[in-house]
């Protein structure tokens, strides 16, 4: 019997494959292609208090072994999510993670409050739709001149502290690789009572159209994801895993079961898969099967045997 399960703050992940925010919608599109209940979990499309239209102009550009995206957090807003998506989420049999963003502390807090209220209401009716909040601190901080909350540890501390006060739901903080010190950021999250950290979000990057003599993206910079970032992301996950006691969910460029094993060996409790969902629409099933067959081949009974061995 092979055991790939892991529990984070009471939330059961039956296997380490969690789909990353922004690459999996709210699960419905992929559910038409395969049984998404096989997944360990999904982190839904990043939500903000109010609906966001996202960025104008080109939103995607392929790069060697990766892609740049500049979606700009287009989302229906938290109320629409709670009303339209959560009834579907109630019937899913996997870890359901709501990804929360915001431009101001007030927006973050109000968003978390709405999710919390909804969770309590559903609980009274014997239901549950959201098992965990993933706090995205990579959003630009309007007050700090547009620099992301996720860059400076002490700026991010305020958001994490306020959200921790606002919600009783398990809280995972998603870290940006653009942070000035990603290890210090993770330690801060642990100090402020986060139940887990996930890393890394996309790397701030750029593409110039040399004929038009301008950035390809209206927003100037875009986020790099895909296999190109995996070695750096893996190193960061390793460093953070050594520095904190709370679970670390690793992500960045995973495109095979072997990549997942690397992250587990680097110390990850579970992983998130993002861009690879675009490469192979049915990636989830292949990765889950791949991890199990690797374990069988190598005589590994539980991922605990190899977690953090490096």
């Amino acid at each position: 019997m092979i055991n790939t399960a892991y529990t984070i703050a009471g939330v059961h992940f039956k296997n380490p494959v969690v789909m990353a925010s922004g690459t999996f919608g709210f699960g419905q599109e992929y559910a038409a292609l395969y049984d998404i209940n096989r997944l360990g979990g999904i982190s839904g499309k990043g939500l903000t208090l109010h609906a966001k239209a996202g960025n104008d102009g080109i939103r995607v550009f392929e790069t060697p072994a990766g892609m740049l995206n500049s979606v700009g957090l287009e989302n229906p807003g938290i109320e629409a999510f709670l009303r339209d998506e959560c009834p579907r989420w109630e019937s899913l049999n996997l870890a359901r993670i709501a990804n929360l963003g915001g431009n101001t502390i007030e927006e973050y807090v109000e968003g978390a409050r709405l999710i919390e209220e909804d969770a309590l209401f559903r609980k009274r009716n014997g239901n549950q739709a959201v098992d965990m909040i993933e706090l995205n601190i990579s959003c630009p901080n309007v007050k700090a001149g547009g620099m992301a909350y996720g860059i400076r540890t002490e700026v991010a501390r305020e958001v994490v502290r306020e959200i921790r006060r606002t919600t009783t739901l398990p809280l995972m903080v998603k870290l940006s690789p653009n942070a000035e010190d990603v290890v210090a950021m993770a330690v801060m999250c642990e100090e402020e009572g986060a139940d887990a950290v996930s890393l890394v979000n996309t790397f701030s990057a750029m593409k110039i159209d040399i004929y038009k003599r301008r950035s390809v993206f209206d927003n100037l910079y875009a986020g790099l994801s895909g296999p190109a970032i995996k070695p750096i992301a893996l190193r960061m996950v390793h460093q953070v895993s050594k520095a904190v006691a709370i679970p670390v969910v690793g992500m960045g460029g995973i495109s095979s079961a072997e990549d997942i094993i690397e992250y587990i060996m680097a110390g990850a409790a579970a992983v998130q898969v993002g861009t690879h969902n675009f490469v192979h629409l049915r990636a989830g099933e292949q990765l889950i099967d791949g991890v199990e067959s690797f374990m069988r081949r190598e005589g590994i009974g539980s991922l605990d045997e190899i977690r953090g061995i490096i």
């Binding site: 922004g22 690459t23 999996f24 919608g25 599109e29 992929y30 038409a32 292609l33 499309k45 239209a53 996202g54 104008d56 102009g57 080109i58 939103r59 995607v60 550009f61 392929e62 060697p64 072994a65 990766g66 892609m67 995206n69 979606v71 287009e74 895909g226 296999p227 495109s255 861009t275 969902n277 675009f278 490469v279 629409l281």
Partner: protein, 235 residues
């Protein structure tokens, strides 16, 4: 998985690719196509050029790395297809005696050929900047007239008042011009445009193919790629 039957260059850098298999699809829908493992990362959205129980055909222009790899395919090679995706052309019946035209610019003619199966007497307008291609095939597929324009503006030859329904596909300036012409014409014709936005997933999850519309943003992959012309806000 499909197997390539043929991959013929019909004009410089324009290829007609046929693969075996009973792949379903309505006119104006597309498939996410790849013929490689990991790189380039993303699959390529290609509209259905033609299909039958034996196979499916795509018409594409070599633009970058992905289409270059497609152009290297030979009979017997493997092709990975996911689809069909997208809303396709409006297929409701138009009023008896209603007239339909399809307007294609360059590689934008790709999804129009298969529409002639449903609209066998519709008029066809094809515009090319240089060498025209597949015009004889279009002529053989419709009882309507086929108008070919090389180096000019094919749209100038379309009388909007002569039609009840028009579907256009081509470069964005052409589609913006179609929209403009419809707005200025005062004609009651329903005009649809088929967009060619960059895509990543093709199924509505990633939001990179977002289309700015009058009321909201829509997804080219699932809400489109076919939109009422007046809905779209062209950049």
């Amino acid at each position: 998985m499909a197997e390539v039957i043929a991959n013929v260059e019909v004009a410089p850098n324009i290829y007609r690719l046929k693969a075996s298999g009973a792949f379903p699809g309505r006119m104006g829908q597309f498939y996410m196509v790849r013929a490689w493992d990991s790189y380039p990362l993303l699959s390529r959205p290609l509209s259905i050029f033609n299909r039958s129980e034996e196979g499916i055909e795509f018409l594409y222009q070599v633009k970058g790395e992905g289409t270059k790899l497609l152009s290297d395919l030979r009979a017997g090679d493997e092709l990975q297809l996911e689809g069909p995706f997208g809303n396709g052309f409006p297929d409701r019946a138009i009023k008896p005696g209603g007239r339909i035209a399809v307007v294609g610019g360059g590689i934008g003619i790709a999804p129009l050929y298969y529409a002639l199966r449903s609209w066998p007497d519709c008029d066809v307008y094809l515009g090319f900047s240089k060498e025209p291609y597949l015009t004889e095939q279009f002529k053989a597929a419709t009882q309507g007239k086929v108008n070919v324009n090389v180096g000019g503006f094919v749209l100038d030859e379309v009388d909007l008042h002569a039609y009840d329904l028009i579907v256009a596909c081509g470069p964005e300036p052409m589609l913006a011009a179609v929209q403009q012409k419809k707005l200025l014409s005062g004609s009651g014709v329903e005009v649809y445009v088929s967009l060619e936005n960059r895509m990543a997933c093709g199924i509505g999850a990633c939001l990179v193919c977002s289309v700015k519309c009058r009321d909201t943003r829509r997804k080219a992959c699932t809400d489109g790629p076919v939109f009422l012309a007046e809905e779209v806000i062209f950049g």
